[in-house]
């Protein structure tokens, strides 16, 4: 990593040298070039060349532009239940727990080539982490996390390292996309895995009630096409459930109630992002994230329920 950056830096120096030959020679370029062969530590090229000055990211709220993208969060699926809303309608609920989400790394165009925020969730003991992982947390100065996930963002949505992302980052009533590794189903046949219809249970069907049937044509093409749906291992892969509606939020315990199903078993990590299809109202979302105002006691906050409107859906006659 260091060698590659040094190589890039050397190349950039060579280009500068060429330009200095054509144009007026720049004294700093020549002095840097001479220093390459000394035992001195490599100087900070970025600051000296003047281009790409170190970026200052502040933790303050801003305005969300139409093409802005803000971070997601990492939650843990606690389980499922059912609740009744204020009109008495039953809502199937999945409970997600955003356990100690903290920004652990900021990726920028200058160093990595894109803008992203790495978020960490959970807690981990030092003895359970490998030395490279431990060094990463120490270098960033953040507590040890159990799960790290990168969320690509736009430049205006960057947050400084160590910013907590609470459940108030999301609004009750907004739609989110939830990504997780689905439950593993093992080796499954065509009917369960691909939704094949199978064959008749009787009327002479011999020994092939759930089989996949034919797998292709005859001599032309004379082979089975790649990607032919066949039995195999099902589940245990990353799936995204889109347009999940957030019903309720509890800031005191960082819990989120969402409607419907969420992939994965209980206890697994889920990654929650703003929905890409049913986009939320940009003016209402906290951007880049929700900063706790001074003097607010999170423990004493009541759960926030989505606004269900004034019309009772059961009063049909009106």
């Amino acid at each position: 990593m260091a060698a590659a950056s040094r190589g890039r830096a050397l190349l950039s120096r060579l280009f500068l040298f060429q330009s200095s030959l054509n144009a007026s020679p720049k004294c700093p370029a020549l002095s840097i070039y001479s220093r390459n062969f000394s035992a001195d530590p490599l100087p900070d090229y970025a600051s000296e060349s003047g281009a790409g000055a170190s970026r200052i990211i502040e933790a303050k709220s801003g305005v969300m532009a139409p093409d802005s993208r803000r971070t997601g969060a990492i939650g843990i699926k606690c389980g499922m239940t059912a609740l009744w809303d204020k009109w008495g309608e039953r809502i199937p609920i999945s409970v997600l727990w955003l356990d100690d989400n903290v920004v652990t790394q900021v990726k920028t165009v200058e160093k990595e080539g894109f803008f992203a925020l790495q978020v960490g969730a959970g807690q981990k003991k030092e003895k359970h982490l490998t030395k490279p992982e431990l060094g990463h947390f120490r270098a960033m100065g953040v507590p040890l996390k159990r799960k790290l996930k990168e969320f690509p963002v736009t430049e205006d949505a960057l947050l400084p390292v160590g910013t907590p992302i609470s459940v108030r980052h999301f609004l009750p009533g907004q739609y989110v996309d939830v990504t997780a590794i689905s439950r593993g189903k093992g080796f499954q046949g065509g009917m369960k895995r691909w939704g094949f219809k199978g064959m008749p249970a009787s009327h002479g069907a011999s020994l092939s009630h759930r089989s996949i049937g034919s797998t292709g044509q005859r001599d032309a093409p004379g082979k089975v096409f790649k990607g032919k749906k066949m039995p195999g291992r099902m589940g245990g892969e990353q799936t995204t459930v889109k347009n999940v509606w957030i019903y309720k939020i509890e800031p005191a315990r960082n819990l989120m109630w969402v409607k419907g199903q969420v992939p994965g078993p209980e206890g697994s990590f889920v990654f929650i992002k703003d929905a890409c299809y049913k986009k939320p109202d940009k003016s209402l979302l906290p951007f880049p994230t929700f900063f706790i105002p001074d003097g607010e006691e999170t423990e004493s906050l009541e759960p926030i329920v989505a606004d269900l409107g004034d019309n009772d859906p059961f009063m049909a006659g009106d």
């Binding site: 059912a82 409970v95 907590p164 315990r253 059961f314």
Partner: protein, 223 residues
């Protein structure tokens, strides 16, 4: 990091990084106290092992163990060392007793159970739900659409499915020549009253055999 902090008013407390670190450091310091004691007292005495063991088991037991250990072999060693260790133990005991009792950590698989209990408490404010068992003959008053008069259902409970706030009971009854089975979520806000009228002795948890029985076993007169 204000998220998932300890709640003052309930037993629920989700583990945080900040709450874990002081706890571990406290236990380490208590062990170091006991080791200090051991280094000062005379080695090779019978009191050596009980001191160390007690210190590891419980922090509150250090003072008591030290005192009992000191009294028995009083010949060896001087009185100064005895008083020193007793003073240290008392100071250690004071420091250790000031530590607040450990708050119970909530495990992930208990969260849903706790949330269900809370939801049941909220639902109980609408109506008091009696204890229902299969074989009970119950009367249920349920609110219908457009908030007209409450509908009354009287039948025998043939099964109960316990699932926290979504506990359901299945009622079977006969109405105008048709047998009907309805599933009622017990804690739903639309159910305004559940009353156990009587009970029939059954030896099953699920009374699905009533489906093959004569209708008189699940016909009830509504008064």
């Amino acid at each position: 990091m204000a998220s998932s902090s300890l709640l003052p008013h309930s037993l629920l407390s989700l583990p945080t990084a900040s709450s874990r670190f002081p706890k571990s450091s406290l236990t380490i310091s208590s062990i170091s106290f006991s080791l200090n004691q051991v280094s000062i007292t005379r080695t090779g005495s019978v009191a050596f092992q009980p001191l160390v063991r007690r210190g590891r088991e419980s922090t509150f037991g250090i003072a008591r163990a030290g005192e009992t250990g000191e009294e028995t072999p009083a010949e060896t060693g001087g009185d100064e060392s005895t008083t020193e260790t007793v003073e240290e133990e008392s100071s250690v005991a004071v420091a250790v007793e000031e530590k607040p009792p450990k708050k119970p950590i909530v495990k992930l698989n208990e969260i849903i159970g706790i949330l269900n209990k809370k939801a049941i408490e909220e639902a109980e404010t609408i109506k008091v739900v009696p204890d229902i068992k299969p074989g009970d003959i119950v009367e249920i008053k349920k609110e219908k659409a457009n908030r007209r008069r409450l509908a009354l259902y009287k039948g025998i409970v043939i099964s109960k499915s316990s699932s926290g706030v979504h506990t359901t009971i299945r009622i079977r009854y006969m109405t105008s020549g048709t047998a009907v089975e309805i599933v009622f979520p017990v804690y739903s806000p639309k159910i305004k009253e559940i009353k156990v009228v009587s009970h029939r002795d059954v030896r099953r948890a699920k009374l699905y055999y009533l489906r093959e029985k004569l209708p008189r076993f699940y016909t009830f007169k509504k008064k």
